[in-house]
Symmetry: D2
């Protein structure tokens, strides 16, 4: 079953096939001069996959307003179909990451079956204790896993255990825990007691984690809390992973750091201390802007991948990060944004693969700062799009995913099936 | 008509009256040593007022969730009653600032009458073109006053003209325009054309502004747009006020600046060039956090008021700023937060009034950096609470507004009358 | 007279000539598909030049230490020779910007003659009132053009007038004024009086500015003053240019802004209001880091050039910005850093030239945020190095400037002639 | 031996004695109402001491310039005399922290004797591998303890061991290691290898640390390196302390963090995990501005002390932080700045001591965010100056240290003895 007509796909690819072959050949020749085998790079890119978040296919918003798009998915089954479109065209997003309770269904096997039909697997499960679900007994207004009240913490723990159960039924192998716990005012909570309570609650979750699962905790500097956040940075995140044990790892979201922070260095540190769990990819200029990956600072994304490729090539101990996109698509078609973001991640990976690491190490040893930095820039400046496009084409995807998606008329088709959602005027200011 | 029982008020004040008198006397003695007449300061504080935003009495939220409070106001009439509580106890908030369409009513005279009954006037009108109202013809998803489409801009202009009309009927004398227009991605809009369109639209509004009104434009660095904002900083805001004319002024929101920016200096510049329109007071640690005024960096608030008092005392040309609170109360009772925030603003004003300006000017002329800065610190360190409390008491307010409010049981009473609102789980991420 | 042996240059170019021709042809073919004439782009790039700062060829340092390099220039004559190397190899830096009193000489005609011999002209003159020169009567410890003392201000004015005189003798046509004036503590100075004094002093300078000169003022958020700076941002800078008159313009240094600020938007605003004077190019991650242009965030540099090319193509009124590098080379050979930085500026310019502006405008009008941003990304992703290299080659420069420079052994040669400088251990902390 | 005439001291104190007694009594009465015993607070304040850095008594500067002050100390003996002035008047700075090689002397016993004569002890020793000393064999231009070259690392280790030896002879019990190691460009160094080398070098130092000593490592986000720093944040700092062992602790400098970071929370985390070594107190608005403690954001300083007092009162395991000032006095008399900074630290401590912790804990348990934050604010708003002044007076110090210092004419006296230093015009830009 495919969501995009193979006729459209073929027609669109045919229009671009000759130019791609030409560009790929020339790039291959250029890379050969540098000692790089383009086909080897292409094979690695083809084997790469980044997970798509189920909530990412809906239109996002801000506290001021949400402006809905056309044909928004009504439920997780619709969402999976949208995710399938992304994978069909990019061949780079073979798994979906679910969010509970948003994606909770009565019939879990049917959901698993739907994924299999669409060729999609299930990535890490995401719990939600940052908002109150209808009929929830205890509110998370003042925290969840770190709440002053034991019953609230217990409720939050049990929700996470339920996520694990659902995930087991779906074939997931990881739980991601991000909480909004924190404070808006100095003094509102005791930093130390809050963190002790959080650690206790997380240990209760960790104890129930299956042996072949991993537990990812995610730090964030601020928002929704605006004075302090319980898991505020990688330092605290590392302490958590260390306290919990060998199945616990730190998740890095590119938008969750203080201004100017050197994120690639944090990635290197977590790799070195065997606690890098994975990524929530996106881009940002100000705060947790959740923009499309690579859209604001593509060189930063490359520098992160430079660390990842380096660790991959030297087979760093315990290195097996999970990759996921995590974005909010407020002004674009979410499918389009996710397709290009998946492509950006592949691009950074390919650029990381063509770094001349032997030369780089030599320059580093000699303190030749200029040539060392130029070595990275040379890889970054290389237009590797032919490699990405060829990898997609050979795997049955689209040379130009966005153009093909538009030509296929998918959005108009689902807009006819899925009722329009009313525009959300905030009221929240 | 009073919202808080005078019995409760008297009883609460009686408990604190003797200590207050004692503290006021001692502070008076201390200030006299420094050449400051405490009663003169008290009279100025008593005459001071800061407007309350109608939307501030509802519980705020974030894009992740909103956790409602008890007894939230259902409409502008409920909101006015809540605002009346704030003024009764603090005697510092005699006006309310409305937001259209949130506060739109069929019977405007009734609204004005309600205000009069409660002893409240109407401050600046606030338009809203950052979210779509139901049945709105053109969406503001891609902008309003700067939108690429002329019809959308016209709709936004007309909405602002309607706000002026409502304001005229209510006795308001100013319009505040804050827009969310901007972009999420480089290239999404042409900076120059967008700003030209914005200026054209604003000129259309300005032309209809009554002669005795002022037009306030408000800049903001980011959010809801995350790459660029049309009115991004005070530089652009100044250009707007200059282009529009003598009734146009710049509004400063303390949370709308880049990290580390010296806000008090911006205030000084706008005063110097006769374009300071006024303030949206709040506090913040990270972005536009909209926390209670003075809760994060009280010294910064004082430094802003130091500029304001200085301009007041030297009777700076064209100096008549409007003062308003603009906060989002996510985890506190909004009435309590607004009462203490009004008090914080009064506190900064009182501290500004007791700065020894003659000594300060002398130290500045001599480049005695240490003594100059200590002169400001000496005023800031002074605990002026007795002045504020005495001013409240003498005006019929509460020595301790929050304690009195709690003793009066207002929240429980309105909670019984106003139905609970369901918790808003985002879905927006 | 050439500083680099033509034999070495030819040999190095010969090694790379065939590959370059091949790459240039293929890129030409790719660009032709997009409707871009590669030769037209190359001609524009060949005509482009960015000025080199005389002080940039010395090794920089921090307040903690300075670690000298080999063969540092001893005076402005040595510096000009180093600058000549940069231009010979890159063919992109035909002018040098001087700093007085650092570059002050007794025999100005000899200096001008030296420049002519080396094929170098003289760009904007830079005054220095941020440090005290030996035998200076009044110290700038507490400010210069804004100093509380009139005699100090007068001294600073006269220094600027002297810079104009020297510049006239050298053929310069602009004066750049950057001051360090500001304060370290709240209260240390009166913001308004300081700015009034500054404006008065600048008017005295402006009055003496020749009619065919321009006056550039440069804003900076902080450093060397750490609480407030007199010319702190573009808003204040615009006010200055407006107050002074039509020959006064704003200079933008890429490292002088608050964290996260959208610099390209400031550039667009200054162009729109006809006050963009030019640039001090460099790159930064934290503050005014003065790193090599394009080394930290190359996409930001491209976005700035996207505005510049757009203004150039639409022939924006009054648009004639001056371009200069302004960097501190602490750990690299300054000549190498300046060569690659000049190349980065050319690269951003070339990428700006190949943006499909018709398509971009269409996407902007349709609010197609995704395709609009991809249109910019497509230009940025293009590896335009063959265009830059071909422009250099055809103008007599080097295909690979750094490799050629190293092969020529220039640094070793001057190190033998110029005595080593002692390492500067701070003492300043 | 005293540096300040006891006659002057007595006369100055006599002028303020009666008012102080009056203010102290009234404050005592106010605090008694809140259940606080003013004398108990005073005793704790009197017992408190913060170390003064020897380099702090010289005038600081920036990379642009240094403007010397009058009568600057010529050597460590002069510096100790200046430090003695600070302690005599404030009674809050009984120890001095040395910097090697700046304070290196041939006759260490004489130095120790000098300290004893002046009533000063020796706090932590500070090593310097961020600048090159004359005759140093290997340069630290490209790093020290993390340098790629083993001999350079060894030299840096040996320098630290020498610092320990000197410290042992002086009675010091701690070594503080801050390095400038890092990079200016992506790729310049391998993050992981650099940190491995650093850890190896630190282990070599740690092995030689006496059993009754502590080793403090200090993190810093940037400067002098502007792309990456080896010990960039508290996360890395914690890893270091953990790797080294039980005598290794993290030092927190208030100016070494990313913008907006919640420093008091980092303090709480380090206390909780028993790795808080101590502080370098100062204040900052932008970066590592090294301004006088409490001069920019006094509430932040209070919030840090709120954590410290809380840990002290609950006798947190392993809690024994070292307190030191670390500032750069560019525009003030260093002695005056250090006196007021010591006072600010005492003030924050006193304010921390009067927090109603039982009430605070109750509000926190009830999620009464407003009253919890007001509880802290109530302590911060209290003008505790009478407590500080009375503690000074009773210990033989000055009620008003700055006024007394000025009255004593110390600066003029030493200016006559110590030759003026030439103004340092940078040349470094």
């Amino acid at each position: 079953m495919t969501m995009i007509s193979t006729d459209v796909l073929s027609r669109e690819n045919d229009r671009r096939r000759a130019d791609l072959a030409n560009d790929y050949d020339h790039l291959g020749e250029q890379l050969a001069r540098r000692g790089v085998d383009i086909d080897a790079v292409k094979r690695k890119v083809a084997a790469y996959s980044v997970a798509v978040p189920s909530w990412g296919v809906g239109t996002g918003g801000t506290r001021f307003a949400r402006f809905p798009g056309r044909g928004e998915p009504r439920n997780i089954f619709d969402k999976l179909e949208d995710c399938a479109v992304i994978h069909e065209l990019t061949r780079a997003t073979s798994t979906v990451s679910l969010h509970i309770p948003w994606d909770k269904v009565a019939d879990i096997p049917a959901l698993r079956q739907k994924g299999e039909t669409l060729g999609l697997g299930f990535d890490a499960m995401n719990s939600n204790t940052f908002s109150d679900a209808p009929q929830q007994e205890h509110s998370y207004k003042f925290g969840s896993l770190s709440h002053a009240n034991a019953a609230t913490r217990r409720q939050a723990v049990e929700h996470n255990l339920e996520c694990i159960e659902i995930g087991k039924a779906l074939g997931s192998k990881a739980l991601t825990v991000w909480i909004g716990d924190g404070t808006n005012f100095p003094g509102q909570a005791d930093f130390t007691k809050s963190f002790e309570r959080y650690l206790d609650a997380m240990k209760a979750i960790y104890r129930e984690l299956p042996d072949d699962w991993r537990l990812f905790t995610e730090h964030k500097m601020y928002e929704p809390a605006f004075y302090s956040t319980v898991v505020q940075d990688w330092g605290t995140n590392y302490l958590i992973a260390q306290e919990l044990g060998p199945k616990a790892f730190c998740l890095v979201d590119l938008g969750h750091h203080a201004p100017n922070v050197n994120i690639e260095m944090i990635v290197a540190r977590l790799i070195q201390f065997r606690k890098l769990g994975g990524f929530h990819f996106n881009d940002s200029k100000y705060g947790d802007d959740d923009l499309d990956t690579g859209s604001i600072d593509p060189y930063r994304l490359f520098l992160v991948f430079n660390e990842l490729v380096d660790a991959e090539l030297r087979q760093a101990d315990g290195f097996a990060p999970a990759h996921m996109l995590d974005q909010s698509h407020n002004v674009t078609d979410p499918i389009e944004s996710l397709m290009r973001s998946a492509t950006e991640v592949c691009r950074a990976y390919a650029q990381g693969l063509i770094v001349d690491r032997a030369a780089l190490a030599g320059y580093q040893d000699e303190n030749d700062a200029l040539m060392a930095s130029e070595t990275l820039k040379a890889a970054f400046r290389t237009d590797v799009e032919p490699i990405l496009a060829m990898a997609r084409l050979e795997a049955g995807g689209a040379i130009d995913p966005v153009a093909t998606y538009r030509a296929a008329g998918y959005r108009a088709r689902v807009a006819a099936e899925r009722p329009a959602v009313a525009s959300g005027g905030g009221g929240i200011v």
